[in-house]
Amino acid sequence: MARYFIRRALSLIPTLFVIVTLSFFLIRLAPGGPFAREKDVPEFILQNLLKRYHMDEPLGKQYLRYLGDILRWDLGPSFRYRDLSVNEIIDKGLPVSMTLGVTSLVLAVVSGIAVGIISALRQNKWPDYVAVSIAVIGISVPLFVMGPILQLFVGMRWKILPMGQWISVHGIKAIILPALTLSFPYFAYIARLSRASILEVLRSDYIRTARAKGLKESMVVWKHVLKGALLPVVTYLGPAFSGIVVGSVVVETTFLIPGIGRPFVQSALNRDYTLIMGEVIVYSVILIFANLVVDLIYGLLDPRISYK
């Protein structure tokens, strides 16, 4: 197990390396630099600016320098926010984004599984139909439609919850709408997934055996059905988490949440090289480690999988 973990962790290094290299060269090879907008800057100031950010060096040297910096977890100064380093921006935003992401994931998993169980046990009765319809709606409504509509009705018209901004301004209530928005598609997918797999498990032989033994129905469901049926849900946690991480960019923009999502969009619009790179690296590390954790959980739950 430990050896497997180490091997998996080591195999992440090439992926990260590819991400860093790919995004570095994509950004550097694109026409127009980060200072291209400041047209009336005198030549010698431009030269000084380029020197300040080491952009006058040959590309290879810049690349090696950047790799070295990353190994020391120094993501460099931001090009646009002149008095902030990328590390500072990320340190400030990451806890906020992680709070939002983890809340949404937990919400999606708990409510998704609950709805999945209810609708599977009441198959083809009205709770099932309601659940299935909600699930399909959830998969079809994009985040950037769901978010503004919740804002409009719950926040603006009915004034039940704050329309935007974060816990620091509105208290814990501020997290409800963004987390609902962000978790809805994944809640829907998990509900569908767990419904299908519970239905499948309910038809299997070992459930018939459990019932034949005279076990109470609640015991059958909680101890036997769920254990087998939730494996697909665990597999889906990886993609769900990465979806939530990417989706949080939209939700943070919509609800004006001070996470790392908004600086990311801004950096993309401003061509803030170092900030884009830093954000992409942070996001990738989060995603890759989330997938690793999911793999390990999967192994713990399913004794058929052995790690060699």
Partner: protein
């Protein structure tokens, strides 16, 4: 001679027996699934309408999506002609202004003039010449406020703008009433309302859908072609090539691909973004992975079956085996995945457009329309709801259709007749 005949027999077996029975069967099942069938009709309707949108504009059924009628800005959805709505809007505004002025009058009478109005419109009077006769009409009010100005501090500038606006609005109302039957702009009917530049929302939604659906279709086709090619070669040839390709796919899977697309979109800059070809390429480049994996899995499970062995023993070449024998058998899965890929394409494109990184003006996709609607949603809700509902309905139907197709084409199903 005889060899050729046998080849034809194999061909015929594959063509007549297998594919036809599969698709006819799938269609039979799909027809039983009411939701999927309704979805199919709605999706076809969307595609036909958006495809023939320019013809509809020419025929005068829908308005031009670029045509700005400033006088008709931000009208709510209605079947009445625009002129009536404009009149209603102006009347409401005038009533509002008059009420505010009344309140102000009462308040000032009670408290005496207060200096709480911080703004100064002193420079404005006299700049507009065409309203000269109109200001005569509201003179009583004006005189009243000027009277107050005599013994107040800066009351003149505080009540003046409202009174002046009332004058403008009344003038505009008269103008609309007289032009009602002569100005073609006031005869227009906006079923879904108008946006802040007086453009028809219905036309905007249809043309937005045209771009979104186009990106969806072209992107899906590109992704499917690349995925099929790589997946089938990788699955059939196997060995080191398979290993290499699949490791590559693994690494690509590890990439946070929307982030890579965002980088690409940010880097190509605003000018190039106008041509949304790059958007196709950017999204398609990273979304062939799933199809490649699925096709590879199917091919591996099929490549040792008897019919492939038979084809090989008769000397069929590798490309022939892949394209004539293996791929037709995986087509069902490919169709299902492509149907489900398309809504995700449209969502991703709109996601980028919403963030300002996708399709840029003058083109507009559903995502652009939604993000414009969000800015106006407080007062002009329909500007958000029209594109949002249109888009959601389409995605909903595509998902239902994909599910229906999966049920209909399910390769695991045993009770096929």
């Amino acid at each position: 001679m005889s060899e050729k005949k046998e080849k034809q027999a194999v061909n015929e077996f594959n063509q007549v027996m297998k594919p036809v029975s599969l698709w006819a069967d799938a269609w039979k099942r799909l027809r039983k699934n009411k939701m999927a069938l309704i979805s199919l009709y709605i999706v076809s309707f969307y595609i036909i309408v958006t495809l023939f949108a320019p013809l509809l504009t020419k025929a005068g059924i829908i308005y031009d999506y670029r045509e700005q009628t400033i006088s008709n800005a931000s009208l709510p959805p209605s079947f009445k002609p625009a002129g009536q709505l404009v009149i209603k809007k102006l009347e409401a505004r005038i009533a509002d202004l008059e009420r505010t002025l009344e309140e102000q009058k009462a308040e000032e009478a009670a408290n005496g003039p207060s200096g709480s109005y911080g703004f100064d419109f002193g420079a404005v009077p006299g700049t507009e010449t065409e309203t000269a006769d109109q200001s005569a009409e509201v003179d009583p009010n004006l005189n009243f406020s000027l009277d107050f100005g005599g013994h107040g501090t800066d009351t003149e500038s505080s009540s003046n703008p409202l009174v002046r606006e009332l004058g403008y609005q009344k003038e505009a109302l008269e103008k609309v009433k007289t032009e009602m039957n002569t100005n073609p702009g006031y005869q227009k009917v906006y079923v879904l309302g108008t946006d802040d530049l007086g453009r028809d929302m219905l036309a905007r939604v249809i043309y937005g859908g045209r771009i979104s659906i186009l990106i969806g279709i072209v992107g899906t086709l590109t992704a499917a072609l690349v995925g099929i090619l790589i997946g089938s070669v990788s699955g059939y040839v196997g060995g080191w090539l398979d290993n290499l390709l699949m490791r590559f796919v693994d690494i690509m899977y590890g990439l946070p691909y929307m982030l890579i697309v965002i980088i690409i979109m940010a880097m190509i800059g605003e000018k190039a973004r106008g041509s949304f070809v790059i958007l196709f390429v950017a999204i398609a480049l990273v979304s062939w992975l799933t199809i490649a994996r699925v096709v590879r899995g199917q091919i591996i499970s099929l490549k040792n079956s008897e019919f492939v062995e038979a084809a090989r023993s008769m000397g069929a070449s590798t490309p022939r085996i892949i394209f004539r024998h293996l791929l037709p058998n995986t087509l069902g899965v490919i169709v299902v995945f492509s149907t489900l890929l398309m809504p995700s394409f449209i969502m991703n494109e709109s996601f980028l457009s919403y963030l300002g990184l996708g399709v840029s003006a003058p083109n507009a996709s559903w995502g652009t329309l939604v993000s414009e609607g969000v800015r106006a949603m407080e007062f002009f809700t329909w500007q958000l709801l029209a594109p949002a509902v249109a888009m959601t309905l389409f995605l909903f139907c595509m998902n239902f259709l994909g599910d229906g197709l999966r049920d209909a084409l399910d390769p695991q199903s045993k009770n096929r007749t």
